[in-house]
């Protein structure tokens, strides 16, 4: 048989009954016993000092990254200047080999006219064509 500690006290003028005893037994059996004391947290220590070694390493990493970025930018800028110059030089060297120089003076020996020498010179120069015609003076 279950027994509960009876309380002889009345509540609001009403003597307690079995339900009251059951409820009291229920709630009070759930309460921590012994009642825990409050333990204040320890005072916060001074903010953790980051070891100097770690700080130095971190700083060096940052500088490293900045140097890398600067070098990349310099390379890009330099390439912009160097590349066109390289391209133009390459084009000038090709021009002479592409030049067609026709000396009509020798080719037309069979029909040479003592009074007129036609000298054609065609020179290809970067998209332009120049024709030189020389006419001897005194031709009629």
């Amino acid at each position: 048989m279950i027994t509960f500690e009876r309380s002889t006290a009345a509540w609001n003028g009403r003597p307690e009954d079995d339900v009251d005893h059951v409820l009291r037994g229920f709630f009070q059996s759930r309460m921590p016993n012994p009642w825990p004391a409050f333990t204040p947290p320890q005072a916060l220590k001074s903010p953790a000092v980051i070891p100097e070694r770690t700080t130095r390493a971190t700083r060096w990493q940052l500088y490293n990254r900045l140097l890398l970025i600067a070098a990349s930018v310099a390379l890009l800028v330099g390439a912009q200047f160097l590349l066109p110059n390289f391209m133009s030089n390459s084009t000038k060297e090709k021009a002479p080999s592409a030049a067609v120089k026709a000396d009509v003076e020798g080719a037309t020996a069979g029909t040479q006219d003592n009074n007129k020498v036609i000298k054609d010179e065609i020179l290809l120069e970067e998209g332009t064509t120049k024709i030189y015609i020389e006419v001897s003076p005194g031709s009629k």
């Binding site: 048989m1 609001n12 339900v19 059951v22 229920f26 709630f27 309460m31 825990p36 409050f38």
Partner: protein
């Protein structure tokens, strides 16, 4: 006359007095929310920890009791939001069913059986009703004290308490609760 600032020792003593005075009330309200003793204890300790930090920061709390109960209620609700994260789909109160390996005396077994019935009824009650029951039976508070804590009038306390008791009595009678000699 210039008043001396409170020393750490005096501040600790004052805090301890507040703790001794109100910690059980805070526990009782937290227990009414979750019907779990360990959870209620966690909430109670966290509540006083926050009060401690406020005091350490130099905050002046005019009504510590009201402050404590408000914070405890908020923490109990916050616990609800995190319970699923901690326990998955199993609410904390399912852990109450864990029993020890050691055999219990017959009387203790019957007692726990009955308390399980009480807990089932408590689950069906509203939180305000549970708070009244908790303050009444865990701390033996009278109507006036309960009304003061819950900020309701004494008549409402009496009505709610009667209704909850009636409901419990019917359930216990249906279950054949052993009568005390």
């Amino acid at each position: 006359m210039k008043s001396e600032p409170p020393t750490p020792v005096s501040r600790h003593a004052e805090f301890d007095a507040v703790y001794q005075r109100y910690s059980r009330e805070v526990w009782a309200l937290a227990y009414a929310r979750w019907l779990n003793s360990d959870t209620a204890l966690d909430i109670m300790q966290e509540t006083f920890l926050r009060l401690w930090k406020q005091w350490e920061a130099g905050e002046v709390i005019v009504n510590p009791r009201a402050w404590l109960l408000r914070v405890a209620r908020n923490l109990a609700e916050d616990f609800a939001k995190s319970a699923f994260r901690r326990n998955g789909t199993h609410p904390p109160q399912t852990m109450n069913g864990v029993k020890s390996q050691a055999p219990m005396p017959l009387e203790s077994l019957e007692r726990e059986e009955m308390f399980a019935q009480v807990r089932e009824v408590m689950d069906e009650l509203s939180q305000p009703d549970r708070e009244i029951l908790s303050l009444r039976y865990a701390l033996d508070y009278d109507t006036g004290e309960i009304a003061d804590i819950l900020a309701i009038n004494a008549t409402a306390v009496h009505m709610r308490l009667s209704r909850a008791r009636q409901r419990l009595a019917e359930r216990l009678k249906a279950q054949g609760v052993a009568q005390t000699p």
